[in-house]
């Protein structure tokens, strides 16, 4: 009898794992709590490093699913182990599976927690995710009043590398996202001044450094320093205070839009599923695998695998690679 694999999460991680296991001949059930597939990537406009449309990536993954049974609008609320099998409860139905893959991804850092930055209070303080939506809808950013911005500040490391909000780790993708978005702003509104406030720039992937050079050549100004606070001034503009740590001077600036580069946080609901299954979390709150180097997809509970951003911040390439590896590990486990 064909064995069944349940995949929790229909982001790029879940989709790729499903695709691979499907082609290996397993019966795959993919649970996705929202009504569409693609996870966070479906919410992005164009992707770094090559400004390709995110929708292309999502549709290529969804179209290659074959026999995968996708259950959208289905939230997995608990997973129990029973006689070597798993009972997955979702939307008050129970499903059985021989193996489980957690691909529940991440959650954007709730920027309200960094209250001093004014998200949710000042209408022209937005997040990087909000900016992606603006690009999708209008092709360019606009102030809440509808006015065209002439000065925009990108704030790196919001909810990352910040002990004060209990997120000490680096989210990896936000530096390059800021650089990409800065270029996009410059392309859409050439006379708009663009500033990036960073701690250091982590351009770790192929093509990332080139993006940074491109941003510089397009006139984006990089200021090393962390924002201390912002306040709202006339016309809904925002005054930000920071310290330029290279020049060692405090700095005050009025801008039209502040873009907070929100980090990738562990999902609260996932932590609960993990607790159900007796999985341990790493120091940052993401799900821990049995061996960071040689076994990054297996967990301490037999038959439960993890993949994608629920194990920590990652870009799409690394997520998809991890998904392929996970599929192979699931196959090895089920064909023992």
């Amino acid at each position: 009898m064909t064995k069944t694999v349940a995949i929790i999460g229909g982001g790029v991680a879940g989709l790729e794992t499903a695709k691979q296991l499907n082609s290996l001949g397993y019966s795959v059930k993919l649970f996705e709590k929202s009504n569409t597939l693609g996870g966070h990537v479906a919410k992005w406009d164009r992707l770094f490093p090559n400004k390709r449309h995110a929708s292309e990536v999502v549709s290529s993954l969804t179209l290659s699913q074959g026999n995968t049974q996708t259950l959208v609008g289905t939230t997995v609320s608990s997973i129990k182990r029973q006689h070597g099998n798993f009972i997955i409860s979702a939307n008050s139905n129970n499903h059985e599976a021989d193996a489980v893959v957690l691909a529940t991804g991440f959650e954007l850092f709730p920027a309200e927690k960094k209250e001093e930055y004014g998200y949710g209070l000042f209408e022209n303080v937005i997040t990087s995710a909000d900016l992606e939506q603006m690009f999708i809808k209008h092709g360019k950013p606009a102030m809440a009043s509808g006015h065209k911005p002439v000065r925009i500040a990108f704030i790196h490391c919001v909810g990352s590398r910040d002990e004060k909000v209990n997120r000490p780790y680096c989210s990896k993708v936000c530096c390059v996202t800021a650089v990409k978005q800065a270029i996009e702003v410059k392309e859409a509104i050439p006379n708009c001044e663009v500033f990036c406030f960073y701690m250091d720039l982590r351009m770790f992937g192929p093509g990332y450094e080139d993006l940074y050079k491109e941003a510089q050549s397009k006139g984006v100004t990089f200021i090393r320093g962390r924002l201390s606070e912002s306040s709202e001034i006339e016309g809904g503009r925002v005054q930000i205070k920071a310290e330029d740590t290279l020049a060692s001077t405090p700095l005050k600036m009025s801008v039209d839009i502040v873009v907070l580069m929100v980090g990738m946080s562990p999902q609260l609901d996932t932590s609960k599923l993990a607790a159900d299954l007796g999985l341990s979390l790493n120091a940052d709150g993401f799900i821990a695998a049995t061996d960071l180097h040689t076994n990054p997809t297996e967990t301490t509970t037999k038959g439960v695998f993890v993949t994608g951003a629920c194990t920590g911040p990652n870009n799409i390439t690394d997520t998809v690679n991890a998904a392929k590896a996970t599929a192979l590990d699931v196959h090895n486990y089920l064909s023992r």
Partner: protein, 610 residues
């Protein structure tokens, strides 16, 4: 008739020594009080305050009321030792007085009366006396037994940590613990040999009388009893037992209105010596219960200061949360003494003279958000929205720029730098011509009230908003939300504001009262007065505090301090943490929906913090 035997010498000499030393210390301390404090003593000594103090001495030093409140067994242990011993002396005196027909006897006579007088047949009420004396001895011995037990394991007596004691303390402890068993032995042997004693010593005496050579123990036991008493008395001034006579003095001085000032005074010496080193403060300290830092609590700090050996570690490893001030059965102002010790340490020369002055427009109410207010714009915004809703004429004096109130510097011993900032803010505040100062930050409120010497009243926003809500000037409509309230250290224990925040919240929803609240509330962990703990440790404390106020069982966790709000928000992703003002904004919005705003409360006198 005169009673005497050489063995009374150790007891008598010890007692004499103790009386002289205690009297000398009292005189030195009282003489050392500053002029203001001396005036307080003179002005109050012949008033009913002295009677009240006497009553408190009885309640605390004999009955140990506060220790009882902490734990019954611990209270019983202290009471049986103190009250039992006191009554033994008092009854003994009465007994000898009656027996000797009112004659004034040297102090050793009643103590060793069983030795001196074997024939009590002429004593009036003999049966009662011998019974009561034995009963009291057993009462004391039950306390001694508990004390032995506590040394072995302190948990059943409600103490997780017992103070670690020095060698002299152990010596004194040993002699104290020997006194009563030795008295029992001496009296029982005497009873066995001469048929004296009450129901218990007689029974025990008769039981051991047949043992060989029991009569050989007669003199040695009385000598040992006297020696243990003498040794204990002599050790008192050098050990924690000095707390017994000192607490009496402390109670009187405190009743006369004397408090810690901003500097150590000889009153501080009285407090230092009144610490019994009971260790109750260790358990109440979250550094110990949460983080396992159990070597810096008040008991150790006070001891080190008493011995003039306070280290930086002891002075600085404290959140100044004030919990131990309230749990201390002696009522020692621990955190103030610790703060004053920080003030004594050499200044680092930090100066803020360069900070440019700021100016604000005039207004009836001066509103100050402070540095924490800059970091919590939502709180400032909500408060000002409520001011607008109630038509308050205000000026937001640190809207564009703010100067730190100085409290964070002050709690870290940088008094001069704090004063420089205070001066600038004072000018700013007074320049507005306002009638009152309102701040959302209890940290600022505390230094405004305690050190700024402003001519206008200072209100924390919860006090001010309560006034507006209670008078009907601010219309609010409650929702069905469950709300729990966290008392901020600086607002609660610091400024004594407990009621207004609670009353205010009742205008907004259903307030859930928890056990660890008010003086017993836990610190959120965000304290600015400690620098040696890291963010993870702070988070750990914050999560425990949230748990203690039942955060998971309510819709909102309310606090009244922007620092608490930030600390909790960092530590918990699961709870909605809001300042009272933010919750009230919702209640104000409710009035727009529901047509009949409920105004069930009547105004009560609103306090200020200064």
């Amino acid at each position: 008739m005169s009673y005497y035997h050489h063995f009374v010498i150790p007891f008598t000499a010890g007692l004499l020594f103790l009386v002289i030393v205690v009297a000398a210390k009292w005189i030195i301390w009282i003489k050392g009080l500053n002029n203001q404090q001396k005036r307080q003593v003179k002005g109050n000594i012949f008033t009913k305050k002295s009677l009240l103090a006497t009553w408190e001495v009885l309640a605390e030093s004999l009955f140990h009321r506060k220790v009882f409140k902490k734990n019954f067994l611990l209270g019983y242990m202290h009471m049986s030792l103190a009250l039992g011993w006191f009554l033994l002396i008092a009854m003994g005196n009465l007994e000898t007085r009656i027996f000797t027909h009112g004659q004034l006897n040297p102090p050793y006579v009643p103590i060793f009366f069983e030795f001196f007088e074997h024939d009590l047949s002429t004593l009036r009420y003999k049966e009662i006396f011998t019974f009561v004396m034995d009963f009291l001895l057993l009462f004391v011995l039950s306390g001694v037994a508990l004390a032995y037990f506590k040394r072995a394991t302190s948990k059943p007596l409600g103490m997780k940590q017992a103070t670690k004691h020095a060698f002299v303390d152990k010596l004194a402890l040993t002699s104290l613990w020997l006194i009563f068993p030795l008295r029992l032995a001496a009296e029982s042997v005497t009873a066995g040999l001469y048929g004296t004693g009450g129901f218990f010593t007689r029974w025990l005496g008769e039981a051991i009388a047949p043992l060989p050579a029991i009569d050989m123990l007669y003199y040695p036991l009385w000598w040992a009893y006297s020696l243990s008493l003498g040794l204990f008395f002599i050790s008192v001034p050098f050990t924690r037992y000095m707390h017994i006579p000192t607490e009496t003095l402390l109670i009187f001085l405190r009743k006369y209105g004397i408090k810690e000032t901003e500097k150590h005074t000889s009153y501080t010496q009285v407090e230092l010596n009144a610490c019994s080193r009971c260790g109750i403060c260790i358990d109440s300290c979250q550094l110990s219960s949460e983080l396992g830092i159990s070597s810096s609590q008040s008991t150790y700090f006070l001891k080190s200061l008493r011995d003039k050996k306070a280290t930086d570690y002891l002075t600085e490893t404290c959140m100044l949360c004030g919990r131990c001030d309230y749990s201390c059965p002696v009522g020692i102002e621990n955190s103030t003494i610790r703060l004053n010790q920080r003030r004594e340490s050499p200044a680092t020369g930090t100066s803020f003279g360069y900070v440019p002055a700021i100016e604000a427009s005039k207004g009836k109410i001066a509103f100050f958000a402070g540095c924490m207010g800059q970091l919590t714009p939502s709180v400032t915004r909500a408060t000002l929205a409520l001011f607008d809703a109630a038509d308050v004429e205000y000026t937001h004096i640190d809207k564009d720029a703010t100067i730190c109130c100085g409290r964070p510097l002050q709690v870290n011993g940088e008094e001069n730098a704090a004063r420089e900032l205070a001066q600038k803010n004072k000018q700013l505040i007074e320049g507005t011509g306002a009638e009152a100062l309102v701040t959302t930050c209890p940290i600022c409120a505390r230094i405004f009230a305690e050190s700024y010497e402003l001519s206008i009243p200072v209100y924390h926003h919860t006090q001010f908003l309560y006034q507006l809500a209670a008078s009907g000037q601010l219309k609010l409509a409650p929702s069905n939300n469950l709300i729990t309230y966290h008392d901020p250290c600086e607002l609660g224990r610091g400024l004594g504001v407990y009621d207004e925040p609670r009353e205010l919240l009742k205008f907004a929803g259903n307030l859930v009262e928890v056990k660890s609240s008010k003086t017993n509330s836990l610190c959120c962990g965000g304290s600015l007065a400690i620098t040696s703990i890291n963010q993870q440790q702070r988070n750990q404390m914050a999560r425990k505090t949230l748990q203690s106020i039942g955060a998971n069982d309510v819709d909102f966790v309310a606090t009244a301090c922007p620092l608490c709000k930030k600390t909790f928000t960092a530590a918990s992703d699961e709870n909605a943490i809001l300042d009272i003002s933010e919750i009230l904004v919702k209640a104000f919005a409710n009035t727009k929906q529901s047509s009949k705003p409920e105004q069930k409360q009547t105004a009560k006198e609103t306090s200020t913090v200064n």
